[in-house]
Symmetry: C2
């Protein structure tokens, strides 16, 4: 099948570009130095490409992602890098064949994990992003609580998400160093082998700072948001649309905000300038003459929620569709 | 089951509030004076409530919505208020037992519809929103083209989407009148019985202006965006979350931007003030002391894309879950 034969809107990724992005990252952070974050794609087939590149540990944001990865037999060490107190979901994760580690940042999350039979945790440390994570000075105390509850405390994690988009690389490095100093001090109090941090925007700023593994996900597919940072990863993902209307000075394609993560703003259109998105439309100025029925490529501003809005990712090589990957880790 | 027993994030709607919203609209625009837009909820069970209130005509934004409504046996007159040139999807709609009308705004869309066996259309007229729609002065000519192609031209439609959020009601009315004057003039050239327009924000501004039916959808569930207009519809929809972390001056719940339409900005939290959303988190200042495990209600800024992100809507009466409605019209 050719791309031009796909019903639209169609989520499409360039197979060779994914392979290059995954290889570039695997060279920079081989094996367990990267714990690929599957929340960015929610797709076990793509996680399989990351596994084939040598990564055997994975990061998840939801219990559903953990359970789905285990069902697909991917990885030998799955981390839920997030807090949950849901007893049913914790129990489901505890019963998997693949060892699961969960993040904890409070006595309540420790208690819930232990009660459900979870046996491994990381102490989640607040390194500057006001989200989850215990205050750095409290990490050691919480590790003691976790050990008393019977958990194996494998180390710490801290996500410097507030620094991913610092535009200047040197400034980004300095701020990451400050942030990671908090994590490393917490690690001294906590113990364990793991210091887990980072994301695509800071993947190459963790050498020699004590971080043992980076949790990056977006690098495999990329989006316009990360694209502005000059990272060594190329745009692989877009949504193919069909021009359904042409007005005076603008065209309209059938790729709307129900097909695009919009929290980072409007998408881009190849060979055009976006005006706005509606539920099922993008209105844009085309660089050249377009007619109804022409295909356009729309590039999402944020890859993670875009993936979660589609049930399939079409893989292409040149203009040919070579595979369909179910986006099988959606939901919670 | 109680709401407090639902796994989170959970999309929940108050059953009595839906009933009141639907009754209020049915009183203002009874029967065929309203063509409820199912894109707002993508849920045949909710469309069934609208049908029970006396509406037998429905508006859809995607072929999937049309096909799903027909499969559920809902309505006697379905409108795809959108353009498509997809031959397979047009053919699927043409073969349904329920009569389907499609919007056309170009010779290409007319030709595609006729070739696929579609027999009814509305001429989509640009009434000021730069999206789909033929220029008003071209509508009569396009109607002639459609009739020559064998289509039954039932009238016109025009969506004044750019006016939905004009804050002052009188100003909104004046601008709607100007916009609808364009549609009525086009209708004089086109002919047919239908002049279709409007949405929730302008549902009560179409009396005596020539519009025969209003395409409103959001009114049944509502969101914070429309909530700012002082309409006679109440908030029925929210996403229930669990507090998973409490920091200094803020709390974090497990309702993130993958569970919320974000194109109209951040959601609101009952009894709190939202700071920001991440993929799986909302960080907010709580009005009172919250502890890990507490439940919170998050109110989406935009109902339509929020519905499309969930597979089920839980119906509640007081604190009890009384039904689960599949969101079965998702996708394209």
């Amino acid at each position: 099948m050719l791309i031009s034969e796909l019903a639209t809107p169609a989520l499409v990724a360039d197979s060779a570009t994914i392979d290059r992005n995954v290889a570039t990252m695997a060279a920079a952070r081989p094996g367990r130095a990267l714990r690929p974050h599957v929340k960015a794609h929610k797709c076990t087939a793509l996680a399989g490409v990351q596994a084939a590149a040598g990564h055997t540990t994975f990061t998840c944001a939801t219990p559903r992602e953990v359970v789905g990865m285990a069902a697909a037999g991917l990885g030998d060490d799955l981390l839920l890098a997030n807090e949950t107190v849901d007893p049913l979901r914790l129990r489901a994760m505890a019963q998997l064949d693949i060892p699961v580690t969960v993040a904890v940042d409070s006595e309540a999350t420790v208690t819930a994990a232990a009660a459900a039979g979870i046996s491994r945790c990381l102490i989640d440390v607040n390194v500057g992003l006001p989200r989850c994570g215990v205050a750095p000075g409290e990490a050691g105390r919480l590790a003691d609580v976790a050990r008393r509850a019977g958990l194996n405390v494998r180390g710490v994690m801290g996500y410097e998400g507030h620094l991913m988009m610092v535009a200047d690389r040197e400034q980004r490095r300095d701020q990451v160093d400050e942030s990671m100093a908090l994590l490393v001090r917490a690690h001294a109090d906590v113990g364990g082998d793991i210091v887990s941090a980072g994301g695509t925007g800071t993947f190459d700023l963790h050498d020699g700072n004590g971080v043992t593994e980076v949790q990056a996900g977006s690098y495999a597919l990329m989006d316009t948001h990360y694209g502005s940072l000059g990272l060594p990863f190329e745009q692989a993902l877009y949504v193919v649309g069909t021009v359904i209307s042409v007005g005076e000075g603008f065209a309209v394609a059938d790729v709307g905000l129900k097909a695009l993560g919009m929290d980072h703003g409007n998408p881009s259109v190849e060979h055009g300038k976006v005006w706005f998105c509606s539920d099922e439309h993008v209105t844009f100025t085309p660089d050249a003459t377009l007619t109804v029925g022409d295909r356009v490529r729309v590039i999402p501003a944020h890859v993670d929620p875009t993936m979660a809005m589609h049930d399939s990712l079409w893989l292409m090589r040149d203009d040919e569709v070579v595979d369909r990957w179910p986006i099988d880790l959606r939901g919670w």
